[in-house]
């Protein structure tokens, strides 16, 4: 047993005195600086009792300290149950199953003042409605057997899609391919008459109307393309008329370069401004027109030279033969399958020429012409309703003509604010036509509904519009503008198809206007005749004198000749046969 030396270790205690009267006071603590109360020194002697331990064995575990603890919450027992409310609301003291109580309560309530007043107030109101119900059956379906009226026609034109030319060239021609899901073919060209020196791209596009970002196909004519037409029934063959007067034929399936092209020596001398298919049967013939004054007929299979040519000279004087000097430049052509031997031609001088291919002499071929516009005729089209009526546009006006009336258009509208660049009839709706102008506006006219202004107008583009081509079904319309944007417009249902009486009404309009023009014409002629008759008496006298003088002259010559004869006879008839009677 070891003994501990206590040694210098003393018990520490601190003694202080407290007065009794200060008992119970709260202790007020003060912060005092530290001062040593006691210090215990280390006892060196005790060091000897201890030894350093080395090495030390220590067990360690390198894990996260974990602990486990479990609790038990109180369980709430849940139970679903329905409540059937049969009757309630009775005050506390009334028992439900006690009839007496119930009745007593009821009677109590009935004697309240409030009750009586309420019931007496509600009475007139309820009697009113009871009577009303008895009087009429208010809730029956009225007008159930009336038929619905035709809905109000709302004209709506909207831009369905826009196809842009990456090179921003103006649209020169638009065509629809002849297939179920028609595609839009557009050609682009800056229409300067000289071929531009800069190597401008001549590429033209075929667009799928649903795909706006890039064309489905491209094709590149050799020169700028002014007109493009799709072959009827064959959706892959395109015919283009170019700026140098030649034709290029493309087969899109084969390549984007022309399959065949006409030779420059046998084609037009000026850019081709119009290109149309003729004759459905063979499907290979088409004809072209150009400002050089001639129309050429071609066969698609053999483009080396044209089948036929015709010089468009109408203003011939006397015996002048048609030649390039007196022919009119062609700016638009119109051919309709309904009249296979005739066609209409719009010229650069503003005439519309009615041509009959079956004529025997030149004057029979170019039967007649109209002075249509001041400036070139940009478009001519026959009406699908009446083939004898056609529409033309040029300068600032659109005019409708009848073949029977030579002097004036049968229907005119106010001049537009800017040049009208293209016009066409609505394909299925007999009474409507559409026009596009240089200020970028698309006009839709309906001659039956509104005569003096367009039924619908739409600002399609900020730049001028220059081409218009409706799809043969009438619902979509391709419109091209001056910076290469091709807009696809959609029309609302009522603008595509005709109403039941439209054709009849249109015919009536046509007949009425033609008759009016005839009447005006005859009246005018009468007037002129009358005027001439009035000035005739003075003219007659002059004529008589003239006649007299002519008679005198004849008589004199006769006498002279007789005298000469006699003399001759006298001389002896030597020179008998030498003189001839004048």
């Amino acid at each position: 047993m070891k003994k501990f030396k206590i040694g210098t270790y003393r018990q520490s205690n601190y003694a202080y005195t407290k007065l009794r009267k200060t008992f119970g006071r709260q202790p007020l603590f003060q912060i005092v600086p530290a001062h040593i109360i006691d210090s215990i020194n280390s006892d060196v002697e005790l060091h000897k009792e201890y030894v350093l331990r080395n090495p030390v064995h220590r067990e360690i575990q390198a894990t996260l300290p974990q602990s486990e603890h479990d609790t038990n919450t109180k369980q709430i027992v849940m139970h679903e149950q329905g409540i059937n409310h049969t009757e309630g609301g009775w005050p506390r003291d009334v028992h439900l199953y006690n009839e007496d109580h119930l009745n007593r309560h009821r009677r109590r309530v009935q004697h309240e003042d409030n009750y009586v007043h309420s019931i007496l107030n509600m009475r007139p109101q309820i009697e009113h409605f009871i009577d009303q119900n008895n009087a009429i059956d208010m809730y029956q379906t009225y007008f159930a057997d009336m038929e619905a009226r035709a809905p109000v026609e709302k004209y709506n034109v909207q831009i369905a899609n826009v196809f842009r030319d990456p090179f921003c060239r103006p649209v020169s021609s638009i065509a629809w391919t002849d297939e179920k899901r028609a595609k839009l073919v557009a050609s682009y060209c800056h229409k300067n008459f000289q071929e531009s020196e800069t190597n401008e791209k001549n590429v033209c596009y075929v667009w799928d109307i649903n795909k706006q970002t890039s064309p489905v196909q491209e094709f590149s004519p050799t020169h700028g393309c002014w007109q493009v037409v799709c072959a009827p029934l064959e959706s892959d063959i395109l015919i283009t008329g170019l700026v140098n007067g030649t034709i290029n034929v493309f087969d899109i399936r084969a390549s984007s370069n022309p399959v065949s092209s006409s030779s420059i020596y046998n084609s037009h001398f000026a850019p081709i401004t119009a290109l149309r298919y003729t004759h459905l049967r063979t499907n290979t013939e088409f004809f072209t027109g150009s400002p050089d004054g001639q129309c050429l007929w071609w066969d698609k299979r053999n483009l080396s030279k044209p089948i036929d040519r015709l010089l468009m000279s109408v203003k011939l004087e006397g015996n002048e033969a048609p030649s390039f000097t007196n022919s009119e430049g062609v700016s638009s052509l119109e051919f309709d399958r309904g009249l296979p031997t005739k066609f209409l031609c719009g010229t650069e001088s503003g005439l519309i020429i009615n041509a009959n291919r079956m004529g025997r002499s030149h004057s029979e071929v170019l039967t007649s012409y109209w002075n249509a516009h001041t400036g070139l005729v940009r478009a001519v089209q026959r009406s699908p309703c009446t083939l004898r009526m056609f529409i033309s546009c040029g300068d600032y006006r659109v005019r409708i003509w009848s073949e029977e009336v030579r002097t004036a258009p049968i229907i005119v509208t106010n001049p537009y604010r800017s040049e009208v660049t293209d016009v066409c009839w609505a394909p299925l709706r007999y009474t409507s036509y559409m026009a596009v102008t240089e200020d970028g506006v698309f006009h839709y006219w309906d001659l039956i509904r509104k005569y003096h202004q367009p039924t619908a107008k739409l600002r399609v583009s900020r730049h001028g519009l220059n081409k218009l081509m409706p799809h043969p079904k009438g619902q979509s319309i391709g419109v091209g503008d001056n910076v290469g944007s091709l807009f696809l417009l959609h029309l609302s249902e009522n603008m595509i198809s005709s109403g039941p009486n439209d054709k009849q009404l249109m015919h009536q309009i046509y007949n009425r206007e033609t008759k009016r023009e005839h009447n005006v014409d005859t009246r005018f002629k009468e007037q002129r005749l009358k005027m001439r008759v009035e000035t005739e008496p003075t003219a007659e006298i002059n004529e008589d004198e003239e006649n007299n003088s002519i008679d005198d002259l004849e008589q004199l010559t006769k006498e002279y000749l007789n005298t000469v004869q006699e003399e001759m006879g006298e001389i002896g008839g030597i020179l008998n046969g030498r003189f001839s009677l004048i």
Binding site: Y115, S118, M122
Partner: protein, 97 residues
């Protein structure tokens, strides 16, 4: 006064097509009824709630407005409900004539 009320109710019942009259208080107990107890209790409970809902609808749409009358028309008959501050007068009328 009470007799006047009785007379009123009799008069209403005498109208053509009226099948029954029930007067319900705001707690949902049928005070006076011309139908049997079970039906009256049914009407009282259901129509009381409907009236309350309708009143709330009108009040919420426009706080200056209040429900004046309610008609529930069904195939067989029409229920005319005249609400009041404390009581509800219900008349069931036959409309198919």
């Amino acid at each position: 006064m009470a007799t006047e009320v009785e007379e009123t109710i009799k008069r209403i019942q005498a109208h053509k097509g009226v099948m029954g009259v029930v007067i319900v208080n705001h707690e949902g107990i049928p005070i006076k009824s011309s139908l049997d107890n079970a039906t009256s209790v049914l009407y009282a409970g259901l129509i009381g709630q409907l009236t309350e809902k309708a009143r709330n609808v009108v009040r919420e749409m426009d706080s200056t407005n209040e429900l004046s009358f309610l008609r529930v028309r069904s195939r067989r008959h029409e229920i005319l409900i005249a609400p009041d501050r404390e009581f509800i007068l219900i008349v069931i009328q036959n409309t198919s004539d």
